[in-house]
């Protein structure tokens, strides 16, 4: 154990914890938009998987990581439109339609991978961007400011989302529609438009999250997300439907994940335990969720399709 508590190892663990949290942060943030407007999208993991494959395959063929992210984004956008059509326009049961999207993503991403790639080949990963001056702050510099570009962008999305939710008319409509769609409707706010908007944001961010995950790992494999899309949904509850809370949850998951990997490398966890240890991030996140989540109230209209009149 003592070898874990050295300066170098701890700093490296925290730095990679932040990086591991990124896909979860993006996907969770997107899910928070949807849930804040009253739509529970259980399909996040499926969107992430297709985004991951799309990103991986694009980079494999083009060697351009940004093109890979763009393809992940486009896939997420398309699936966001499909999800919104099913849940908002067709008013399907949200607990079920999302599972459909997930299963589609799980199967389709693997099928495409088998057909188009076959044996896994590594791809280029994100370039590291060291921030001048800040990178030289002792400890902090190494943890925070020698990351890859996507990490910075993902964390910038947090204050941006807080601004959107709290300071714009769109954000006010999102909060209103998730809480009392009838009231919003009676004032001429289009519940459907707002929910399409949040579903598109959610899909896009999930697609980007998937692509970022695959490109960061430099590889694709079946079910590469390891249910991170579902953890992301749990994080929204953990984070009390607020962007900052989602970020805290994503970081918790990232740190636990990084610690487990570090302990394996150092031999603190024997090989025979590695399968159980792999479950730790999910289990600990869910436990934390149980403790925290009961104190906050979900948006009142969550999972309820909107129908005018009664």
């Amino acid at each position: 154990m003592s070898e874990f508590f050295t300066e170098a190892v701890l700093i490296a663990t925290i730095a990679s914890g932040i990086r591991f949290g990124v896909p979860l942060l993006l996907a969770g943030l997107g899910e928070a938009y949807g849930q804040r407007s009253g739509v529970l999208n259980l399909g996040v993991d499926g969107v992430m998987l297709l985004g991951a494959f799309g990103g991986y395959y694009t980079v494999l063929k083009s060697d351009n990581v940004w093109l890979g992210i763009a393809v992940g984004l486009a896939i997420g956008l398309v699936l966001g439109v499909i999800s919104a059509f099913i849940t908002v326009t067709l008013k399907a049961e949200q607990g079920i339609s999302g599972i459909g999207i997930f299963l589609f993503g799980l199967g389709m991403s693997d099928l495409l991978f088998q057909r188009l790639v076959g044996t896994p080949r590594p791809i280029d990963t994100f370039p590291r961007l060291e921030i001048p001056l800040l990178r030289d702050i002792p400890w902090i510099g190494e943890m925070l400011f020698r990351q890859n570009v996507v990490v910075y962008l993902a964390f910038l999305a947090i204050p941006l989302s807080m601004f959107v939710v709290n300071r714009t008319t769109f954000g006010m409509k999102i909060r209103a529609v998730g809480e009392n769609p009838e009231a919003a409707d009676s004032l001429g706010v289009s519940v459907a438009k707002v929910r399409y908007g949040t579903m598109l944001i959610g899909g896009t961010l999930a697609g980007v999250a998937g692509a970022a995950l695959a490109i960061d790992l430099g590889i694709f494999q079946q079910n590469i997300t390891n249910a991170q899309g579902f953890i992301a949904i749990a994080l929204v509850y953990f984070g009390a439907w607020r962007p900052f809370g989602v970020m805290l949850g994503a970081l918790l998951y990232g740190f636990v994940n990084a610690t487990v990997i570090q302990w394996k490398t150092l031999g603190i966890i024997p090989d025979s335990w590695s399968d159980i240890a792999a479950m730790a991030p999910a289990v600990i996140t869910i436990l934390a969720l149980v403790v925290v989540a009961t104190r906050f109230r979900a948006p009142s209209a969550l999972t309820k399709p909107f129908e005018r009149g009664e």
Binding site: M172, R175, E179, A183, G188, V189, G309
Partner: protein, 502 residues
């Protein structure tokens, strides 16, 4: 020329003619009341005016011009505002956010809540609707929430205001204050449509009254020529007794005794405290109070559905504090809960299944542990006939019955076997006058059989008409007990607002 005129409005729903060739108009500066029972078509007519429904036939003229109103947005753009019966407010947003919602912002995509707040304060001081724009709506009292609704409409420059049962949740003093504001709005040349079934309020506020029954206009009147009785008759189509005849009954021993009760509400806040009450065999004790002052928690604690943290409840001398609901029923409690489809019945169960919810342990309906369906049918048919429950069959799900018939069914089930104590929460809320009249008669009849009856109601007319004694409840305590024969509505109203009688 009227500011708004609806001509020959007809609206059909599958199997129902909700509005049948209805004419209705409003002049600038008047209050025109729309009176009618539930299901008479008032709401449908107003939803058509507000763009929530489209009429199948007929037209709407605004200041003489035929106008198509196809959505609330269109209605708002024609300066029509609606104060809904169930507040259309987003509880988790502030007052200013609720007002600003859906309006274009002076800052484009960004909110301009400071600008909105200033205007809210301005409107508030002009019309006596003072509000803190930064307050979160869920923290407001009911009367304040209604102010937000009115401000919302005024902010959108409403000239024609539809008020759908705005007094349902207010104390008599709040009603006076609201009427003051409404009169001021009419002197500014606005037109108001007032929807209510509280006859004395209708007479106090209106310039004209139009009565609807089964989708048709059945009468028009002015307050000068109408009385409560004549209005009720127009609503129901026959003569109505607004208060039941009550023969004198010799009251006996206390059957329900509550001592120093303390109960917590859903949010973990004390809802009932230092609550003492006795209800004697053969009397009806009415609990008056504005909703949310602990009545629901009181009822649930008596029925064994909510934990008592202090004090005691006993029925016929037996302590039942924190006993299981079934044990309390066995001691002799009958319970008519306030939510007839939520707590009083299972909406998708049939009429007979709902009766069996209580009777399924009864040996009369069991044959070697299995249901004896012949005996059950006979029994249920008897109850349905006795209480004049209008249902196509015993196998009809209660969801498809009218509110009044569901309420009669629950009463039939609960009154079987002469309970020691009957606890009836809002027994006639939202039911038509005919059914309410019938339910009142049955409650009075039960009183003569020596049942101690505790009626919890927000309807002061009901409390005054039924009760032998009235207990006024405020913030979880009994503010005082008065005799309905000598007390005035004003006295009771003040106590409902927390003013002590001495």
């Amino acid at each position: 020329m009227p500011m708004m005129e609806m001509r020959g409005i007809t609206k059909r729903f599958p199997g129902v003619l909700a509005n049948d060739n209805v004419d209705f108009d409003v002049q600038a500066g008047e209050v025109h009341t729309l009176l009618g029972e539930n299901g008479a078509g008032k709401s449908t007519l107003m939803k058509i005016l507000y763009g929530l429904y489209q009429a199948d036939e007929g037209e709407i003229l605004l200041n003489g011009d035929p106008t198509v109103i196809d959505s609330p947005t269109t209605a708002i753009s024609h300066n029509i505002g609606m104060i809904h019966q169930h507040f259309m407010l987003v509880e988790t947003l502030t007052v200013a956010e609720n007002v600003a919602l859906g309006l274009p912002s002076s800052r484009g995509a960004l909110t301009d809540l400071d600008v909105v707040s200033d205007h809210i304060v301005e409107l508030g001081s002009q019309y006596g609707l003072e509000l803190d724009p930064a307050a979160l709506v869920w923290q407001l009292a009911v009367g304040q929430k209604q102010r937000v609704e009115i401000i919302k409409a005024l902010y959108r420059e409403a000239r024609l205001l539809i008020l759908d049962e705005p007094t349902a949740v207010l104390t008599p003093q709040e009603v006076d204050q609201l009427f003051e504001t409404l009169r001021q709005l009419t002197t500014d040349g606005r037109g108001l449509i007032f929807i209510s079934h509280k006859l004395h309020e209708v007479l106090a506020l209106s310039n004209r009254i139009t009565v609807l029954r089964q989708g048709r206009v059945t009468g028009q009147a002015t307050p000068a020529e109408a009385t409560r009785e004549s209005l009720a008759e127009m609503m129901v189509g026959r003569e109505v007794k607004l208060a039941p005849d009550k023969p004198a009954v010799q009251v006996a021993e206390p059957a329900l005794e509550i001592r120093d009760l303390e109960v917590y509400g859903d949010r973990g806040i004390v809802a009932v405290e230092h609550f003492d009450l006795e209800v004697r065999a053969g009397e009806i004790l009415g609990i008056a109070g504005v909703s949310g002052n602990g009545q629901r928690e009181l009822a649930e604690s008596i029925a064994g559905l909510r934990e008592v943290t202090k004090g005691s409840i006993s029925i016929a001398g037996t302590d039942v504090t924190n006993h299981r609901p079934i044990e309390i029923r066995d001691v002799g409690l009958a319970y008519v809960p306030e939510g007839r489809l939520k707590d009083g019945s299972i909406a998708d169960f049939t009429v007979s299944e709902n009766i069996l919810l209580v009777d399924h342990r009864d040996d009369r309906f069991l044959n070697r542990g299995l249901f004896d369906f012949g005996a059950i049918r006979e029994h249920c048919q008897g109850l349905v006939d006795d209480f004049a429950v209008k249902t196509p069959t015993l196998e009809t799900p209660v969801r498809s019955l009218s509110g009044g018939n569901i309420q009669k069914l629950i009463l039939a089930r609960e009154l079987e076997g002469t309970p020691t104590v009957l606890l009836a929460s809002q027994p006639t809320r939202g039911v038509d006058i005919g059914a309410a009249e019938y339910i009142h008669e049955r409650l009075v009849a039960q009183r003569e059989r020596g049942t101690a009856i505790l009626v919890i109601s927000e309807d002061l007319d009901e409390v005054f008409g039924l009760s032998d004694r009235i207990a006024v409840m405020y913030e979880g305590r009994v503010m005082g007990i008065v005799d309905p024969a000598t007390a005035t509505r004003e006295e009771v109203g003040l106590m409902m607002a927390g003013v002590s009688p001495d």
